[in-house]
Structures are given as structure tokens and as C-alpha cells.
């Protein structure tokens, strides 16, 4: 049973199940694996102490923050502007450090 299920996963990347439900050891595949789906480890925004806030007036839309973000939580919207996905942003501050125009400010989370 497992064999068939795993073969399908290997053959078609689109057929991968988003959440795999296993109930006991007999159902498990030989090894644990995970697929790169959004938020597979939970809402990591909870980890944040400092929050990156973008100043749209000075931002030149160069995209360096978008490239450097290690978690892919900076997204480009339809107008070409960059936004931070605060549900998953861990607040590492790399975007603020790399921004050439200093348009990203790290603000302490208020805890509200």
C-alpha cells in the first residue's frame, strides 16, 4: 500500500499531498520527509522580537530585501511594491541590514 502511494509521489510532483496523515508505525513510509510547502513548520511569525517596517517613500523597489530574505516572506505585490508576510517573518533583520536606501526599520514588537 505504502509502495504504491510513494511511487505516485515520485512520479508526479503535482500529486503530492499537502498534509500526510499517518496513524501508526505500519502506515509510515521508510523515512520521514517533508515537502517545501508554505508554513510546514507552523506560523513562524510568533518567533519575532523585531518587526521590519518598510518606508514606501524612500523604497526604490530594487528587490534586494526580497532576494536576501532567507524565508521567502517578502513578496512583490501587483503594483511592484514589496510587502512583508508577518505571519511567517521571523524578524531576523537581514532585509533591514541589506537595504541600500535604509528604507526598512526594525521596530520592537509591542506585544499587543
Amino acid at each position: 500500500m505504502n509502495k504504491v502511494k510513494w511511487k505516485n509521489i515520485c512520479e508526479a510532483k503535482d500529486k503530492r499531498p499537502e498534509v500526510q496523515a499517518y496513524h501508526n508505525w505500519k502506515e509510515l513510509p521508510p523515512i520521514p520527509i517533508s515537502f517545501p510547502i508554505k508554513g510546514s513548520i507552523g506560523t513562524t511569525g510568533d518567533w519575532r522580537t523585531f518587526k521590519p517596517v518598510l518606508n514606501r517613500e524612500t523604497c526604490t523597489k530594487c528587490g534586494i530585501c526580497w532576494m536576501y530574505c532567507p524565508e521567502g516572506t517578502i513578496v512583490r505585490n501587483e503594483e511592484g511594491e514589496f510587502e512583508v508576510d508577518y505571519v511567517y517573518c521571523k524578524g531576523c533583520g537581514i532585509c533591514a541590514k541589506e537595504c541600500p536606501t535604509k528604507s526598512i526599520e526594525m521596530e520592537r514588537e509591542s506585544g499587543e
Partner: protein, 418 residues
């Protein structure tokens, strides 16, 4: 990698070669796709021979990776196997110990890697000669472990290993161990089988889809070897390795039978090979090359009228519990000869401890006599093995234990200098 259009085809041929070369020829016959290696005595000539094959274009399509240490050997083999290739490497003693971290990784990732070990004694005192303590230190890694007792068996067992390991229900790595120098550097006739017959015997090489449970492909990204929190399925994944190992016993027996019908060479039931044991009063279990010499000792003593037999243990992991119980049922006293140590264990010998465990609660009351001999390459002569059998007979008839019984174990051949 050499791009050769003309695939080199091996025809059936009997060659007089060293044990290490037999291992290299087996890897060639199995068409391994990735070899990663670092030399260490007494294994060096395995990978020397393989590099020669690759260089001569006799192994087209094989990638030979030179690395700086045994740790990197297994790390690169793990990577190559994860990508979906048939892989091979070889090491010995201290090299195996340096590889140890990645040895666990290979089993945990369920990669069907085959590795040969030309066993040598661990240091200090510095030693490079036959002693199985190195491979037995990998007993609990999740790798299957088998012993080859002669040159032909090295070749044959490596071929069988790929068929066992790559079964989709098994998917575990395997060691094939044989004595350093006693087999690795001595020469005997070995039949190298016809490539086409070997190709038909082995499962097809993995294609671009790789193994069914793991793959490396940018088009199909995935993460493996993930962290599992204590509340997650860690226990269950470990249980699966143990359960699979026990299920592999049937697979090993089946493959050994298939091997026999294809190539005509007999290896008992796969897990053990009994020799003249059915009407024997006493028998000794050996593993590795000393099991072959023991068969000669049995023959000699049978001519003198003694009812003796011997057993060649082929697998340490999975351990053939049921077969050992059956053997013990047939004899009155069962000797277990270890060319390895398990310090502080019930008997001091790793296999004799296993045998005793196997017999506990089995309703068999056969006396087990643990024997330790030949450590670090110390010669164990035919005469010595005959005397071991005679000591067992004496124990059966008079109840008198051998002279060198120390803490319940017969340490045979201790030096006494005048």
C-alpha cells in the same frame, strides 16, 4: 567519468585473484554507478583495483570519487545513493571508526549501500591483521552484516547483497566482512560470472526516479532526515528498521536460493551453513575464514571416529535466532568461536553472547562454550581447531573444562613465554 560507447562485457572466467580483487570484481559485475573511497590497510587494493577498472574504461558510466577521509567517503556515498544510484565502497578498522557517524545516517535514511570490510584489529596496540571487532562495532547501526569465509564467497555475497538491499521492502545498507590479509591478500581461484547472467540476477539499476522513498531532484524538492520532536514518530521509524531487519531474513534465504539456482554455488540457508551436524554430539560455530578451516578439522576428526560438526555463521545482522536454536537442538555442547571481542559482555565474545541470548527461553538446554581466539591476526591452526573440538568432546564425556577457562570463556592459544 569515462564516456565509452562500447560497454565492456565480462565473460564467465575463473581467475586466481586476491580476496580484495574479488570484492572489486563483484562491484564491477554489479555495475555500481558511484564509488567513493579512501585507502586503508588491508582494504586498499579493493579501491586500487576499482580505480584501475574505471581508468581502463572497463566500468563505463561509473563515477569514482576521491575524498580526503572515510567520513567524507560515507557522506558522499549517502549523497550519491540518495540521488538514486547503486553505490559501493570499502574500508577497514580505524577507517570504519572514522566513518561511524555517516554509517548511522545511511541506515536511518534507508539507503541500499553495500560496503565491504577487510576486518582488522582496533588500535591500540596498533594492529592491521584479521579481527572482526571493527565490523562488530557496527552491530547496532541498522546495517545488515554478513561474513564471507572464502574468496568466491566475497564475490558472491556482494552480488547477493545488492539484490537483498535494493528490495523495496528492505531498503537497508549492508556490510560484507572478511578477514584482513587472511582473505584480502591471499590468492585463490574465483569465478567471475558472465555479465549478462549477473544483470539478469540483479534488480535493474535505479532510473532517474531513484529509490521509491527518497530522491534528489530540483524539480521535485523535498527535505529528508528531518528533525522529529520527542512527541513525533521517532520511535516508530526506529521500530521500522528493526522490523525490516527481521523480515530481511526471509529475503536473504530466498536470494541465496535464487543465487544457487542461477550460479550453482551453495551457501546453506543463507543465514547459516551447517556442516556434518545432523548426528554430531558437539559442534562449533565460526564465522569468517576460520569456518572453512573448521570444516577440515571436522573431516579429520570424523575420520578418527569423533562425532563432531561445525556451523558457519553467515549473518550477524539480522541474527539467525531460529536457525541457531535448531543447531543447538541437534548437539549436546555448542562451542562459539569469536575472532573478536565484546569487552564486559556476558562472555567477552560478541557472537557467543548473541548465541546465549538466542537460546534463552528456547527450551533448549544445550551447553554453550564461548571461545575467543586469533585476535589481531594471531594464527589459528588446523591443529588448534581440532583440539577445540576435542576439548568439547572431553567436556561432554568427563565434564572437564579446557585449561584456559577465564571468567567462563575459553581463551584459546594464550601465549606463555618461558
Amino acid at each position: 567519468m569515462i564516456d565509452s560507447q562500447d560497454d565492456f562485457i565480462q565473460e564467465r572466467e575463473t581467475k586466481i585473484i586476491k580476496g580484495n580483487e574479488a570484492a572489486a570484481y563483484a562491484a564491477k559485475s554489479a555495475r555500481v554507478q558511484v564509488i567513493s573511497a579512501y585507502p586503508i590497510t588491508p582494504q586498499t587494493t579493493v579501491v586500487e583495483k576499482l580505480s584501475e577498472f574505471v581508468d581502463n574504461g572497463e566500468m563505463p558510466g561509473t563515477e569514482y570519487i576521491k575524498v580526503e577521509s572515510e567520513h567524507s567517503v560515507m557522506a558522499s556515498i549517502v549523497g550519491a545513493s540518495t540521488a538514486g544510484t547503486r553505490t559501493f565502497t570499502a574500508t577497514s578498522g580505524q577507517g570504519l571508526f572514522y566513518m561511524y557517524e555517516m554509517v548511522h545516517w545511511a541506515a536511518g535514511a534507508r539507503l541500499p549501500i553495500v560496503t565491504t570490510i577487510a576486518s582488522r584489529g582496533p588500535a591500540p596496540p596498533w594492529n592491521i591483521w584479521a579481527d572482526f571487532t571493527d565490523i562488530i562495532s557496527c552491530r547496532d547501526t541498522g546495517w545488515m552484516i554478513s561474513f564471507a569465509a572464502n574468496h568466491q564467497e566475497i564475490y558472491d555475497d556482494i552480488l547477493m547483497s545488492y539484490k537483498i538491499c535494493e528490495d523495496y521492502d528492505i531498503l537497508l545498507p549492508k556490510f560484507v566482512a572478511y578477514g584482513g590479509f587472511t582473505l584480502s591478500h591471499t590468492s585463490k581461484p574465483v569465478t567471475i560470472e558472465d555479465q549478462e547472467v549477473v544483470d539478469n540476477f540483479l534488480p535493474p539499476l535505479p532510473d532517474e526516479k531513484g529509490w521509491p522513498h527518497i530522491f534528489l531532484d530540483p524539480e521535485r524538492p523535498m527535505m529528508h532526515g528531518n528533525l522529529i520532536m520527542p512527541s513525533g514518530f521517532y520511535n516508530e521509524f526506529r521500530l521500522k528498521i528493526h522490523h525490516t531487519m527481521l523480515m530481511a531474513k526471509d529475503k536473504i534465504k530466498k536470494v541465496t536460493k535464487e543465487f544457487e539456482s542461477t550460479f550453482g554455488r551453495h551457501y546453506g540457508n543463507g543465514l547459516i551453513q551447517e556442516y556434518r551436524i545432523n548426528d554430531a554430539d558437539v559442534a562449533i560455530i565460526n564465522y569468517g575464514e576460520l569456518a572453512m578451516q573448521m570444516e577440515q578439522a571436522v573431516d579429520d576428526l570424523r575420520e578418527e571416529g569423533y562425532k563432531v560438526g561445525s556451523v558457519k555463521l553467515r549473518y550477524l545482522r539480522p541474527f539467525p535466532v531460529e536457525d541457531i536454536i535448531n543447531v543447538a537442538r541437534k548437539v549436546k555442547i555448542l562451542g562459539v568461536a569469536d575472532r573478536a571481542t565484546a569487552f564486559g559482555s556476558p562472555t567477552g565474545g560478541p557472537v557467543s553472547s548473541e548465541v546465549k541470548t538466542a537460546l534463552y527461553n528456547s527450551s533448549v538446554s544445550t551447553q554453550v562454550l564461548p571461545i575467543i581466539m586469533g585476535l589481531g591476526g594471531r594464527e589459528v591452526s588446523l591443529e588448534q581447531q581440532k583440539n577445540q573440538l576435542k576439548a568439547l568432546i572431553k567436556l561432554k564425556e568427563t565434564g572437564e573444562l579446557p585449561r584456559d577457562m577465564i571468567d567462563g570463556t575459553f581463551w584459546d592459544g594464550l601465549l606463555e613465554v618461558e
